[in-house]
């Protein structure tokens, strides 16, 4: 009984001691920043201000919204500079297209099935790098605006306090954590690496397909003109050189055929350029526009993913948004 009594006393003693410790530690935590004895001589220490978690959550969401809208506003200008070389290259590409060298290069590439690659290299030589720069710029701008907006909101909250106040450890940690988190979550650059290069390839391939159809049609039309022209030209050439013997006749015939072959090609290419160049350039411009719009939509979606990543959620909300 004595042993039992000692055990019971020790047990309740331990519980009471722990209760005293809990109350003491809690009181000490409450007293932090609220000294019991007022200090008169030194100026009052700045008040430590902890922003409630729900309010901080609202601020983080608002900063995400602000960062999204700021970058969405910049997007058109950034894309315009990234696509400027592509637009500027359209007349040069048309020059190449309406030249004999261009004609034969395109025919060769079309025959090898590599027209898309050639088009990508000539029309969009630096576009992928340009878009990566735009994405990196947006990521950087998003983080900057997010940080500035959050800092400004926290500053406003501190300024509203009646005494000079400094930010509490918990709030500062949450703020730093939110900034660090947003710095690495769902970067636009990663989304663009996955989306931009394939989009450029698809556009180049589409352009190449349309162009290949045109070239094939043009080659067929020229074939008929050349067949009669070359036959007649070779015969005339051979007849003119016939006094020089049979070998001279053959050489003159081949020379005349070659002159007529290339002469016909050059004439048709120039005629085609005269009538169709403006339409061709407009078509190229429309295709680049289409590609730019697709990339713009991808970038806006990636920016929005970053904005959404600033928000915490409950599973109920997630289930609601999924429906």
């Amino acid at each position: 009984m004595r042993r039992g009594s000692l055990f019971i006393r020790s047990f309740w003693g331990a519980i009471l001691l722990m209760a005293a410790l809990v109350i003491g530690i809690s009181a000490a935590a409450l007293m932090r920043g609220h000294p019991v004895v007022a200090c008169i001589l030194p100026p009052p220490a700045p008040q430590i201000h902890e922003i409630p978690e729900t309010r901080l959550g609202q601020m983080i969401r608002a900063a995400g919204e602000a960062a999204y809208h700021a970058q969405a506003l910049r997007l058109d200008d950034l894309l315009a500079s990234a696509y400027a070389p592509a637009y500027a290259g359209i007349p040069a590409y048309a020059d190449f297209h309406y030249s004999l060298l261009g004609e034969y290069s395109e025919l060769g590439a079309a025959a090898l099935g590599r027209m898309g690659e050639g088009m990508e290299q000539r029309l969009f030589p630096d576009l992928a790098e340009g878009l990566q720069r735009v994405a990196a710029d947006l990521d950087h701008g998003f983080l900057d605006t997010f940080r500035q907006t959050l800092d400004r909101q926290v500053g406003t909250e501190l300024a509203a306090s009646d005494r000079p106040a400094v930010l509490g450890d918990v709030t500062r940690r949450i703020q730093e954590d939110a900034i660090a988190r947003i710095g690495v979550t769902a970067p636009v650059a990663v989304a663009m690496t996955l989306a931009a290069q394939p989009a450029i390839k698809v556009t180049a391939a589409l352009m190449a397909k349309k162009l290949a159809t045109k070239i094939a049609g043009k080659a067929a039309a020229k074939g008929a003109v050349k067949a009669t022209g070359i036959g007649g030209g070779a015969a005339s050439g051979a007849a003119i050189c016939s006094p020089g013997g049979p070998i001279a006749s053959i050489l003159c015939g081949v020379g005349a055929a070659a002159v007529i072959w290339f002469g016909t090609d050059a004439a048709i290419v120039h005629l085609d350029e005269y009538f169709n160049r403006d339409e061709f350039e407009a078509e190229l411009r429309a295709m680049v526009d289409e590609n730019r719009d697709a990339v713009r939509a991808e970038m806006l979606a990636a920016l929005n993913a970053r904005r959404v990543a600033t928000e915490d959620f409950t599973f109920r909300e997630a289930a609601g948004s999924a429906r």
Binding site: F11, W12, A14, M18, L21, F315, R316
Partner: protein, 253 residues
């Protein structure tokens, strides 16, 4: 009035060690010492009713003066059961106290109090029919079981609809999410931190799974299993602590 006093005492014995553990665990691993009195109370609270019922069975089964009677006392079985109970209850309660959000803690506390009230009431009702060792054990099991089932629904609801989940868990891989949870575990270094790390990893794995498949219906099952473990452990532990404090009160009288 006596019931209220008994439940209040049990509540204090349950909450004070857990509160001290919650406050001191981030500072030192020695905070785990605060859980020892709670562990002892749960151990005794499980051991004593089990041993009493086993002894009642053995009193009928074993002939007076039999040699084996000296060995078959029911202590070993009851001791093993109580030890297993403590090994499950203490880490779960420790993790709950450390990482549980406010609404979850309130729901668990209400479940515990309900378990205490129901177990005392059930024991009283059964005492009219059963002998004391049987009535006590059956009353405790019925009381804690009903309270745990009643506490399950609010716990599932709170986890599903009230507690916010960080959004990055939807884009992180499982290993990244678990590494982040282990790095941020609140119990610091040392073996208590390691044990809590295991719970942090399991909890994160649960959240990750639920976040990845949040449109699937079976996600509810993940929450239910987790909430059932918490609810049953909290109810059973509170009833054990209540039994212990009532035993002490009876010994004093």
């Amino acid at each position: 009035m006596r019931m209220a006093a008994a439940i209040f005492r049990a509540f204090v014995v349950m909450v004070v060690p857990l509160a001290l553990w919650r406050l001191a665990a981030p500072l030192t691993g020695w905070a785990a010492l605060a859980l020892l009195p709670l562990g002892a109370a749960i151990w005794w609270g499980i051991y004593h009713p089990l041993r009493s019922r086993r002894q009642a069975e053995l009193a009928v089964a074993i002939l007076p003066g039999a040699r084996l009677g000296r060995w078959l006392t029911g202590r070993l079985g009851a001791g093993i059961n109580a030890t297993l109970g403590v090994l499950v209850a203490l880490p779960v309660l420790g993790w709950l106290a450390l990482g549980g959000k406010g609404p979850v803690l309130v729901a668990v506390a209400v479940t515990g109090l309900l378990a205490g009230i129901l177990s005392i009431t059930a024991t009283r009702l059964l005492s009219a029919t059963l002998t004391r060792p049987y009535a006590r054990l059956a009353g405790q099991r019925i009381g804690s079981g009903i309270a745990a089932l009643a506490g399950l629904a609010p716990l599932v609801w709170i986890t599903w609809a009230v507690i916010p989940v960080p959004h990055e868990i939807t884009s992180a891989s499982l290993s990244d999410a678990m590494s982040a949870a282990l790095a941020a575990r609140p119990a610091g270094d040392g073996w208590p931190g390691e044990v809590m790390g295991l719970f942090a990893a399991l909890d994160t794995a649960k959240l990750w799974l639920a976040a990845q498949y949040r449109e699937a219906a079976w996600v509810g099952l993940v929450f239910s299993i987790d909430a059932a473990l918490v609810s049953f452990v909290a109810a059973r532990s509170f009833v054990a602590v209540l039994e212990f404090t009532r035993m002490i009160a009876r010994a004093r009288e």
